[in-house]
């Protein structure tokens, strides 16, 4: 083509390919690639699309389970059988770099992308979650990123009519320039009505539907595969712009197309746009796809094939129409005012062929582009980082016990990591579709499935301090804690999706963290029988000044078999008895207390014993199912003191006090703030005392009776006594007062 640069090794290197990779491309094609082909290879072999540096590790994760209908990597998202003829598709994905550069659009399009991954399978999105990490809020830049991201998520999800029901937000210095924005969607489909990203019939028409194609987002996938720098600001054009209204039309049209059975296959044009959607369908189906780019509906003038193939314009789908159903297909698109153009056909070879103005500009064996097939796969060098010896070295016995434990509690309790994230979730429509039984602010969100007696419970989680201090243990805890969260609501944990946010994998220390975290995650998932159904890897989360903590976020899915099992986190009635379930150990390593009071991120994270964890979860869930439990709350960041305070006030309009008494040999600050794992706070009706205690006793679960629900204050031993009003003021006003300053 005229006006295209000459392809050589230098140009390939500028596209992020190595010399070895460029040679491999030339060998596969038996010639020098065209400019369009070089662009196609560079995005498909980027980390973002090929998982080249992570695939070998990901394959070690458990991916089997009796409820799995589609396993990891087979489709856009994992698919779980939830019974009653329904299936759930769910997945989490990162949009970190775009959000760091342009928080509003970066976050909005992150939501849009993961929504399409779910509804392209025929599942209607019923819940959205967001796991967010920012630098500390005393910096204006971090507040700007935080408010922009939250608004971006809200505006997109709200317009789409999908409730954003849960998530997690942490503030830590290491995320200062490189915030993390991980968006998760959960969708529900009828079991017999699942769409796939495949082609079946040579000759079948290939359509592009949705928004027109522009130059936005070209090389977005490559952008996500390098570190952030000052130049990243200049890559603002790599950040796509979202149009949630078109997405809403695309959502309704897609579900109608699938319901009316007019499509053979469908794939979202996400990262690497038309290139990835067409080549993935082609490779998977072992059939060819031929594209006529002259037919693409463009929004900018003079676009060349390279740009059309690499555009990441949002809200587009590639559809293979069932032969003979073209008329109905077009009618449905017209009903929803969606643009559609026939851009090609399925062929009986196995190549991706691209034509423009009568010329063939690309002819590539599709399998050579596919992750885990033709795309390269590497085992990177790994090395235990030197910082670990230094930070893990902490002697709790020599830590000074605060003289005023009451003041210490207030300092921990008012940490932005602990206080309510109401400022965030009130900007999200968390009720639309009228299924949100447990709303944001509890341990996990509960969304009922209309037409059944079941509900889904879902939560994201990752305490990255723990992962930083011990990647293997930290990642294992992320799985266990998110499972505990859904158990609290009355759900059986069934499967996870993961979003693995790490630094540059070419640094052996980073790769060691990655390997260790995957190993810990695998152990925990195997033990809790929650297979990994898919997810996303985000490397290169580094800037010139900061390297993020390794942050393997877990998105947990739980199933509640009976709506009567749904259990809240907050205390329910005066006179209810409050219990601590599980054992408190002298574990302050990586705790919120250690950070706020002693200004250290050090020590080893709490120990997670998987056998104990599984048992405590089972026994707790059985108690809930037996109708013995009024409220159930997981103990995590901030320990027992914070957990009890939360159970008092999490129900903002009906807060209930507690005078907690617990005798212990542990030093006061350990008893109050230890973050020991496998613990719950449970309240029960007094008449269930005998049965509940017997249930715990028979199962060898350690427990302590802490007191009775009641009064207008929360006290803990002789450590402190705070009025509920005072606690509520701090819990609900801290973030608004920081953000509205």
């Amino acid at each position: 083509m005229p006006n295209e640069p000459t392809v050589d090794l230098q140009l390939a290197i500028e596209h992020g390919l190595s010399e070895e990779e460029y040679e491999k491309i030339c060998k596969t094609l038996g010639r020098t690639p065209t400019y369009t082909e070089l662009g196609i290879y560079s995005v498909m072999w980027s980390e973002h699309c090929s998982y080249k540096n992570s695939l070998l590790q990901l394959k070690t994760l458990p991916r089997e389970g009796e409820k799995l209908l589609v396993g990891a990597g087979e489709e856009n998202a994992g698919l779980i059988d939830i019974g009653d003829g329904y299936a759930v598709a769910f997945k989490i994905e990162s949009h970190n770099h775009p959000s760091a550069v342009e928080p509003y659009q970066g976050a909005a399009t992150g939501v849009g992308g993961i929504m399409r991954d779910i509804f392209t399978m025929g599942a209607r999105p019923v819940a959205a979650l967001d796991s967010l990490r920012f630098g500390e809020l005393d910096k204006q830049k971090n507040r700007y990123l935080f408010s922009g991201v939250v608004k971006g998520i809200g505006d997109y999800g709200n317009c789409l009519g999908v409730p954003t029901v849960a998530g997690d937000v942490y503030f830590e210095e290491c995320y200062t320039d490189n915030c993390l924005v991980n968006a998760m969607t959960v969708g529900v489909a009828k079991k017999g009505r699942i769409a796939k990203a495949i082609a079946k019939t040579p000759g079948a028409a290939v359509y592009a539907i949705g928004s027109s194609t522009g130059r936005d987002g070209i090389h977005g996938a490559t952008f996500a595969s390098e570190e952030l720098s000052d130049e990243s600001e200049e890559k603002r054009s790599s950040v796509q712009v979202g149009d949630p209204f078109t997405e809403k039309l695309l959502l309704e049209a897609t579900l109608e197309l699938i319901k009316e059975d007019v499509i053979e296959g469908i794939q979202d044009m996400g990262a690497a746009g038309l290139t990835s959607s067409s080549s993935e369908i082609s490779a998977k189906s072992e059939l060819g796809i031929e594209l006529q780019l002259d037919n693409m509906h463009l929004r900018e003038k003079d676009m060349i094939p390279y740009e059309i193939m690499l555009s990441e314009s949002q809200e587009r789908m590639l559809v293979i129409c069932k032969p003979g159903k073209e008329e109905l297909f077009e009618e449905i698109c017209r009903k929803w005012d969606l643009d559609f153009t026939k851009i090609g056909k399925v062929t009986d070879d196995k190549n991706l062929k691209v034509f423009f103005k009568g010329e063939m500009v690309a002819d590539i064996p599709s399998a050579s582009l596919a992750a885990g097939e033709g795309a390269p796969v590497y085992e990177r060098e790994s090395k235990r980082p030197a910082y670990l010896d230094q930070v893990q070295n902490l002697n709790i016995d020599t830590l000074q016990v605060p003289e005023d434990i009451s003041a210490a509690f207030m300092k921990v309790f008012s940490s932005p990591n602990i206080v309510s994230k109401q400022w965030v979730y009130e900007q999200y429509d968390y009720m639309v579709r009228t299924n949100s039984v447990i709303q944001p602010g509890g341990d996990a969100a509960v969304v009922r499935i209309k037409g059944t007696n079941r509900a889904l419970s879902t939560k994201t989680d990752c305490n990255a301090r723990y992962v930083y201090l011990d990647p293997r243990m930290g990642a294992a805890i992320a799985v266990a804690e998110s499972a505990r969260n859904v158990v609290c609501t009355g759900a059986q944990p069934v499967a996870v999706t993961n979003c693995l946010n790490f630094g540059n994998p070419y640094k052996p220390e980073v790769f060691w963290q990655f390997k260790e975290a995957i190993a810990g995650m695998g152990e925990s998932c195997r033990s809790l029988e929650t297979p990994v159904t898919g997810g996303n890897v985000s490397f290169y989360n580094e800037s010139e000044s900061y390297q993020v903590y390794p942050t393997p976020v877990i998105g947990m899915l739980g199933i509640i078999d009976d709506l009567s099992h749904i259990t809240p986190a907050g205390f329910q009635e005066e006179g209810d008895l409050v219990y601590l379930i599980g054992k408190t150990l002298p574990e302050l390593g990586g705790s919120e207390y250690l950070k706020r009071i002693h200004n250290q991120v050090a020590g080893l994270p709490p120990h997670l014993d998987l056998e104990t964890e599984k048992k405590v979860q089972e026994v707790t869930l059985n108690a809930i199912r037996a109708g013995l439990v009024q409220s159930c709350h997981d103990l995590a960041d901030g320990g027992l003191a914070v957990g009890l305070a939360e159970s008092c006030i999490v129900n903002k309009n009906n807060s209930l006090g507690l005078k907690a008494q617990l005798t212990s040999d542990l030093p006061d600050h350990v008893l109050a703030f230890s973050e020991s794992q496998s613990r719950f706070i449970i309240s029960i009706l007094p008449e269930n005392k005998k049965e509940f205690e017997k249930h715990l006793f028979d199962n060898d679960i350690p427990f302590s009776h802490l007191g009775e629900v009641g009064g207008n204050s929360f006290s803990f031993n002789d450590f402190f006594d705070f009025s509920l009003e005072e606690l509520k003021e701090i819990y609900y006003s801290t973030i608004p007062s920081i953000m509205n300053q």
Partner: protein, 231 residues
């Protein structure tokens, strides 16, 4: 009674309104696509919440030109009952069926939360099952719910008892603290002067069953259904 839930491109509470009337109140209910021009078979027209046409230009400003709106206006003149919820309220003010306008919230943010709503007028087909001056708890979810009208319009609304709901404290006080979006005199819902067209920002259809809250919203929806039984 037969209800029509009007579906505009971008409506997203259409499903919730449908479930409320069809499943919870057990009434014949249909989705009606915005290109429909005949609403003869309906006794109640529901303009649901959402983001019709993406709220582009101005909330409700494009939806008012949808083919169905001409018929909605015709039917409202004949006394057919119309309820516009959230985006539906915005469409009603844009089409002139109700006075005033809904502007950006005072704090310029989307707000989703439960609010307290004082029933200021229970002599309507939409509220007659509520108690005198009852305070309901019903959620809001909007960016543009800040009701504004001219002083003249306001005095007319007040004189004709057209202010149906105001944001209040749990014990029924009308003050700034209880006002989530900056609406003039805490207005949350108004009715036309013939009493058959109601617009409200809060979502009664979201709180119409016990599983999701105290089911206060059901009192409003049941009032409508009940008014047909009485006829």
């Amino acid at each position: 009674m037969r209800a029509a839930i009007i579906v505009f491109p971008g409506s997203n509470c259409d499903h919730d309104a449908y479930i409320a009337f069809k499943k919870i109140l057990d009434q014949p209910t249909d989705f009606v696509w915005h290109k429909e021009t005949n609403l003869d078979s309906y006794d109640l027209i529901v303009l649901p919440g959402g983001f019709s046409y993406g709220d582009y230009l101005r909330c409700g400003a494009i939806a008012r030109f949808s083919p169905v709106m001409k018929e909605v206006i015709e039917k409202s003149k004949l006394g057919v009952k119309v309820i516009g919820i959230c985006n539906g309220f915005q469409i009603l003010t844009e089409s002139g069926l109700l006075p005033g306008a809904l502007t950006m919230n005072k704090y310029r943010q989307f707000i989703c939360k439960d609010v307290n709503l004082k029933v200021e007028n229970r002599q309507t087909v939409f509220t007659h099952l509520c108690n005198e001056k009852e305070v309901l708890t019903i959620p809001i979810a909007h960016s543009e719910g800040n009701y504004y009208c001219s002083a003249e319009e306001l005095s007319q609304l007040e004189a004709n008892n057209q202010i149906v709901f105001r944001y209040s404290t749990p014990d029924g006080n009308i003050n700034t603290e209880a006002n989530p979006n900056g609406s003039i005199v805490n207005i949350a819902g108004i009715i036309n002067n013939t009493g058959n067209v109601l617009g409200m920002m809060p979502h009664p259809e979201r709180n119409a069953e016990h599983l999701l809250g105290n089911s206060d919203g059901k009192k409003i929806l049941s009032s409508i259904v009940d008014s047909f039984r009485r006829n």
